[in-house]
C-alpha cells in the first residue's frame, strides 16, 4: 500500500462523513433484524398504510408492517449480496489483471477478447436470465453479477500493473537478479492496490444499485423477506395514497451508494495528486499490447 | 538597464521595465527588477539555471503566465503599448500578429491528433484573416521557408510522425505565420540533438537577419546563447546579475556568477582535466536574502555583500553588473593573471 494514502483520504471532510455513514450501515448489516424495533414480518391489519407516528417512525406498509423495521432487517441481504458480487469480481478480475504482467501477448489477446465479450452482456438482463437457470436465489445471481463486472477490475488492474511494470525501477530490480514474482510483489502490487480499491468502492456502489433493482423487480428474494428495493417496490403501488413513502428506502440506497462513491472519489483524488498515472477507464488496449512487445522477456 | 541612449534609432519591439513577478497567488516573489529591451533584427539571450526566473519573465512577456502567477509591478510594452494589464481578448490581437513563440519539446505544443499543416493553416488564418485556400498556399510557403523539404508531404502528417527538429521548424513556421516583429524562444533547442540544434539556431539567425525579426531567446546553456544572441541577460535566483553585449560578457565577465558559469560551461576541449564546479546550491525560489543573492556561493563575498540590496550598475556601453565588489575583484584577478604570466 502506498504509504499514507489512506491517512490522506481520511483528512478529507467528505470522506470522513462518508465513512461514518458506512459504519452506521455496517452496524445495520451486522446486527440486522436483532436491532429492528419491531418484527419486520408482523402484519397489523388495523394499521395499513399509515404515516409516521410514535409507534411506527416511518409508518406502515400495505400489510400494516413497520417500515423502519423492514428496512433495518433488509440491510443484510441488500448489502451483503452486493459485497459478494464485488468480492467475486475482485478474484475473477483483479488477480488475472495483475498476473497479466507475467504472461505474453497470447494471454493478453485472449483475456481481452473474453473481457470484451463479457462486457457486452447487459448485467441486469443476464442476472434475470440467471434466475431462470438457477432458481430465484440471491447469492448465485450476485455471483453472476460479480462475473459480469469482473472485466472492469481486470482492465483497471492490468493497465495499472503493466504501466508500473515498465518503470525503470522495475528493470533496475530485475538487474539485481530479483525474481519477477518478487519484483512485482515489492514494486508493483502496492501501487496498483489504491486503484483497485477505487474500482472496488465504485463497483460496490453499482452492485448495491443492481441488488436494489433486482429486488425491486422481485427477483432473487422470496416474498415476505424484506429488502430495500422490495420495500420501495411495494410502496410504488400506493403512490396515490402515500406519495412520499418511497423516500425512506430510496434515501437508504442513495446514502450507502453515495458514501461509497464519495470515498472512491476521495481516494482517486489522493492517488492522482501523489504521483501514479491516472488510469483511464476502458482505455483502448492495443497500444498497451504494443508496449509489451517492446519489452522483451528476460 | 543602462541609461545610455540606444544605438538604434528604432523603438524597441519589447520593453520590460523593472518587472517583478509573483507566484503561488502572490505569496512568493520569484522575479524582481527585470529590465530588458529587444529591437527588430536583434537577439537577446536570457541565461540562468532552472528556477532563476528566465522562463517566468518570458511567459510574462507573452501574457501566458500560469494561474497563480502575476506581474506585480513594472511595465511590459510592445512597440510602445503597455500590455501588462491586458485581458485575454486584447492579448489575442497581439498573439500571432506581433509576437510568436516557440518552446522546448515542440511536439507537445502541437495538437497530437491534427495534421501539422492544418494547424499551420489555422494559425495563418487567425493571424492574417486569409481565406482557406490562400492560407493553405501560405502555409506551404512557410514550411518551405523554414527549411522543410517536401512541404506537401509534411503538411499532411500528424506531429507523432515528425522528428523533433522537424516539429520545431513547424512550430517556427506557425510562430512567424502572422509576420510578427518578435519571436520568443523558450529553451527552443534544448531537447534537440546537437546537429539539429545547430540547424535551428542557423534558421533563427537567418530569420532575424532577413526579416528583421527581434528574438528573445531563453536558454540555460551559455554556449547556445553565444551562437545566436548579440546581447545577454544573466539571471540568478530571480534577479538580473549582469547584462551586456555577448562578446564582452564572454570575453570579460564581471559578475562572479557569470564568471563561474563560464568556467563550468563546455569549453570545446575534451582532454581530461579537473572539472570546475560552483560550490553550494542556489537559494530556493523567493527566499528572502539581505544583500547579494549569490553571496553564499561567492569566493569574493564580503560583509558589505550580505547587508543591503545591491543595485545594477552601468559599467560601460550597455554593460550592467549587480555586484558590490566589482573593483576589488578586478584587482584580484589582474594580480592573479600577472602572477601566472610571471
Amino acid at each position: 500500500m502506498r504509504s499514507g494514502v489512506l491517512r490522506r483520504v481520511l483528512r478529507i471532510r467528505s470522506a470522513q462523513i462518508a465513512l461514518v455513514i458506512l459504519l452506521g450501515i455496517a452496524v445495520l448489516v451486522v446486527f440486522g433484524s436483532s436491532i429492528a424495533p419491531q418484527d419486520p414480518l408482523h402484519q397489523d391489519v388495523a394499521r395499513l398504510l399509515q404515516g409516521p407516528s410514535g409507534a411506527h417512525w416511518l409508518g406502515t406498509d400495505y400489510l400494516g408492517r413497520d417500515v423502519l423495521s423492514r428496512l433495518v432487517a433488509g440491510s443484510r441481504l441488500s448489502v451483503l449480496t452486493a459485497v459478494e458480487a464485488v468480492a467475486a469480481a475482485l478474484v475473477v478480475g483483479a488477480l488475472p489483471g495483475l498476473a497479466s504482467v507475467f504472461f505474453g501477448r497470447w494471454f493478453d489477446f485472449i483475456a481481452n477478447r473474453l473481457t470484451d465479450a463479457i462486457m457486452t452482456l447487459p448485467t441486469l438482463v443476464f442476472a434475470i436470465a440467471f434466475t431462470a437457470v438457477l432458481g430465484n436465489r440471491m447469492t448465485p445471481v450476485m455471483l453472476a453479477v460479480g462475473f459480469l463486472i469482473s472485466p472492469y477490475f481486470f482492465r483497471v488492474t492490468r493497465a495499472a500493473a503493466l504501466q508500473y511494470a515498465q518503470e525503470p525501477y522495475v528493470d533496475a530490480a530485475r538487474l539485481f537478479g530479483v525474481s519477477r514474482v518478487r519484483v512485482v510483489g515489492t514494486h508493483v502490487v502496492g501501487k496498483v492496490l489504491p486503484t483497485v480499491l477505487v474500482t472496488a468502492a465504485t463497483a460496490l456502489a453499482g452492485a448495491l444499485l443492481t441488488v436494489s433493482s433486482l429486488t425491486f423487480l422481485g427477483i432473487g428474494v422470496v416474498p415476505p423477506a424484506p429488502t430495500w428495493g422490495g420495500v420501495l417496490s411495494s410502496d410504488l403501488n400506493f403512490l396515490s395514497q402515500l406519495p412520499w413513502a418511497p423516500l425512506a428506502p430510496a434515501a437508504l440506497i442513495m446514502l450507502t451508494a453515495g458514501s461509497l462513491n464519495i470515498l472512491a472519489d476521495a481516494l482517486r483524488d489522493t492517488i492522482g495528486t501523489s504521483g501514479p498515472p491516472v488510469v483511464r477507464a476502458g482505455a483502448i488496449t492495443d497500444q498497451e499490447v504494443d508496449r509489451v512487445d517492446e519489452h522483451p522477456a528476460a | 538597464m543602462s541609461t545610455n541612449t540606444p544605438p538604434l534609432e528604432t523603438r524597441p519591439v519589447l520593453d520590460l521595465a523593472d518587472v517583478a513577478i509573483s507566484v503561488q497567488d502572490g505569496t512568493i516573489q520569484a522575479v524582481r527588477g527585470v529590465s530588458l529591451q529587444v529591437r527588430r533584427g536583434s537577439s537577446v539571450g536570457l541565461v540562468g539555471e532552472s528556477g532563476s526566473g528566465k522562463t517566468l519573465t518570458c511567459r510574462a512577456a507573452l501574457g501566458i503566465l500560469d494561474r497563480g502567477c502575476r506581474v506585480e509591478s513594472g511595465t511590459i510594452s510592445f512597440g510602445g503599448t503597455d500590455v501588462s494589464g491586458l485581458d485575454p481578448r486584447q492579448w489575442r490581437a497581439i498573439h500571432g500578429r506581433r509576437v510568436g513563440a516557440v518552446f522546448q519539446d515542440p511536439g507537445s505544443y502541437l495538437n497530437p491528433s491534427v495534421p501539422v499543416g492544418r494547424q499551420l493553416t489555422e494559425a495563418v488564418r487567425a493571424a492574417t484573416g486569409l481565406g482557406r485556400r490562400a492560407a493553405r498556399v501560405r502555409a506551404l510557403e512557410l514550411l518551405t521557408l523554414v527549411g522543410l523539404r517536401g512541404a506537401e508531404h509534411v503538411y499532411r502528417q500528424i506531429p507523432g510522425e515528425l522528428s523533433g527538429g522537424m516539429l520545431q521548424r513547424v512550430l517556427i513556421a506557425i510562430a512567424i505565420a502572422g509576420d510578427p516583429e518578435l519571436l520568443v524562444a523558450d529553451e527552443a533547442t534544448t531537447a534537440l540533438d546537437v546537429t539539429v540544434q545547430a540547424e535551428i539556431i542557423e534558421l533563427l539567425r537567418r530569420l532575424r537577419d532577413e526579416r528583421g525579426l527581434g528574438i528573445l531567446f531563453v536558454s540555460h546553456d551559455l554556449g547556445v546563447i553565444a551562437e545566436l544572441c548579440d546581447h545577454v541577460v544573466v539571471f540568478y535566483a530571480g534577479e538580473v546579475v549582469e547584462t551586456g553585449p555577448v562578446e564582452e560578457i564572454l570575453r570579460r565577465p564581471r559578475h562572479p556568477y557569470t564568471q563561474a558559469m563560464l568556467r563550468v560551461a563546455s569549453l570545446g576541449d575534451y582532454r581530461r582535466r579537473e572539472l570546475e564546479v560552483i560550490p553550494g546550491q542556489p537559494p530556493s525560489v523567493g527566499e528572502r536574502i539581505a544583500g547579494c543573492r549569490f553571496a553564499a556561493r561567492c569566493a569574493y563575498a564580503a560583509d558589505e555583500c550580505r547587508s543591503e540590496a545591491i543595485e545594477l550598475v552601468g559599467i560601460g556601453d550597455q554593460h550592467d553588473v549587480r555586484c558590490a565588489r566589482i573593483e576589488e575583484i578586478d584587482l584580484v584577478q589582474s594580480d592573479a593573471w600577472q602572477k601566472e604570466s610571471a
Partner: protein, 318 residues
C-alpha cells in the same frame, strides 16, 4: 496486432466477441438443469414422452452441436419457440423490441447532450460554483438507481403536475408527438447515470487536455478561445468520454428493463422477468441475445467515432 483497417479490426475483435457472448448466452440456457420437456409436459409425462420432446427440441445432441445448430438458426432469424405458448421468440421480441430501442436511443442522445454540456461547462469553469454544483449533482445521480429516478419523475410530473403520462406506450410511427411524451420521462430516468459518467470523464479529460502545452501553443497563436476549446482540447478529450459511454450501454439497457416496470411499458424487461419466472429458456436466451447485440452495435458506433477522433490508423509513433 496493429490495426490495419477497420474491417480487419471488425474481424479480429468483434467476431470473436459476438461468438463468445452468444456462446455464454446459449451455454447459460443449456447449463440449466431444468428439463424443459418435464416442465412443459407436467408431472404426468412418461420418460418416452420426455425423450420425444427432447428430440423435438434437439436436446439429445452433444452440447456443441446444439450450439452450432442454434447459432445457425439464429443467423436465419430463428430464435426458437416459447416452451409454454409456442409463439416464435422472434415474434414476441419483435413486438417489444421497439420500446427498448426507442428508450435506449433516446437515452443515449440525452446522455450525450446532458453529459457533454455538463462536462464541458465543469471543465471550463473548473473550481467555480458551477463546477462544484455539477460535481455534487453528479455524485447524487450516480448513487440513485434509474428506477428510483423514474419513481420520482412519476410522482412529480405525472401524479402531481399531470404534465406527462405515467404509463403506456405509443409507437413513433403511430403518433410521433405522443411517442415522445410517453418516452420522455423514462428516457430521462435512465439517461442520467450514463450522462453523469460522460460528464465526469469529459471533465477529467478536458481539464487534463486544457493543461497541455498545445493549448498554450494555440493561445499564443492568437486562436479564438472557442476554437481552442472545441477545435483542439475537446477533440482530444472526447475519446475517453465516448469510451465511457460505450461501456455504459449494458447498464443503460439494464436500467431500461427496470424502468419499464415503473412506467408500465410493454418492453423486453417484462418479457424477461416473466419468462425467467417460468423458466422459459428460449425466450430468456432470445432477450439476452438481442440486448447483447444492441450493446455490440452501440460499441461499434462508439468505435467508429473513436476512429474519427484519433490520428490516422497505422501512424508511426516515435
Amino acid at each position: 496486432m496493429r490495426i490495419v483497417s477497420s474491417s480487419s479490426r471488425l474481424f479480429t475483435i468483434f467476431v470473436p466477441v459476438v461468438l463468445l457472448s452468444t456462446f455464454i448466452t446459449y451455454g447459460l440456457g443449456a447449463l440449466s438443469n431444468s428439463n424443459p420437456a418435464a416442465a412443459v409436459l407436467g408431472d404426468t409425462a412418461t420418460p418416452a414422452d420426455i425423450k420425444r420432446m427432447d428430440h423435438q427440441f434437439g436436446l439429445d445432441k452433444p452440447f456443441l452441436v446444439q450450439f452450432v445448430h442454434w447459432l445457425g438458426r439464429v443467423l436465419h432469424g430463428d430464435l426458437g419457440h416459447s416452451y409454454f405458448t409456442g409463439i416464435p421468440v422472434t415474434q414476441s421480441i419483435g413486438q417489444r423490441f421497439p420500446v427498448d430501442l426507442s428508450l435506449t436511443l433516446l437515452a443515449l442522445v440525452f446522455a450525450v447532450i446532458l453529459g457533454g454540456a455538463a462536462g464541458v461547462l465543469a471543465a471550463v469553469r473548473q473550481g467555480s460554483w458551477i463546477d462544484r454544483g455539477i460535481t455534487a449533482i453528479s455524485a447524487v445521480f450516480t448513487s440513485v438507481p434509474a428506477f428510483v429516478i423514474g419513481v420520482g419523475l412519476v410522482v412529480v410530473f405525472a401524479t402531481k403536475l399531470h404534465v406527462a403520462p405515467s404509463s403506456g406506450y405509443v409507437g413513433p410511427t403511430t403518433d410521433p408527438q405522443r411517442w415522445l411524451q410517453h418516452m420522455l420521462l423514462p428516457a430521462i430516468a435512465i439517461s442520467l447515470e450514463p450522462a453523469v459518467g460522460v460528464a465526469r470523464q469529459l471533465r477529467t479529460a478536458l481539464v487534463h487536455e486544457l493543461r497541455q502545452n498545445y493549448v498554450t501553443g494555440a493561445v499564443v497563436r492568437g486562436l479564438h478561445p472557442s476554437r481552442v476549446l472545441f477545435g483542439h482540447a475537446l477533440r482530444n478529450a472526447a475519446g475517453p468520454a465516448l469510451t465511457v459511454l460505450g461501456a455504459q450501454v449494458p447498464f443503460l439497457i439494464g436500467g431500461a428493463v427496470v424502468t419499464e416496470t415503473v412506467f408500465s411499458l410493454p418492453g423486453l424487461g417484462q418479457l424477461a422477468v416473466s419468462s425467467a419466472e417460468q423458466r422459459d429458456i428460449p425466450v430468456v436466451q432470445g432477450v439476452l441475445l438481442v440486448t447483447s447485440v444492441i450493446v455490440i452495435l452501440a460499441n461499434l458506433v462508439v468505435n467508429a467515432g473513436l476512429g474519427k477522433l484519433r490520428p490516422r490508423a497505422g501512424a508511426v509513433t516515435a
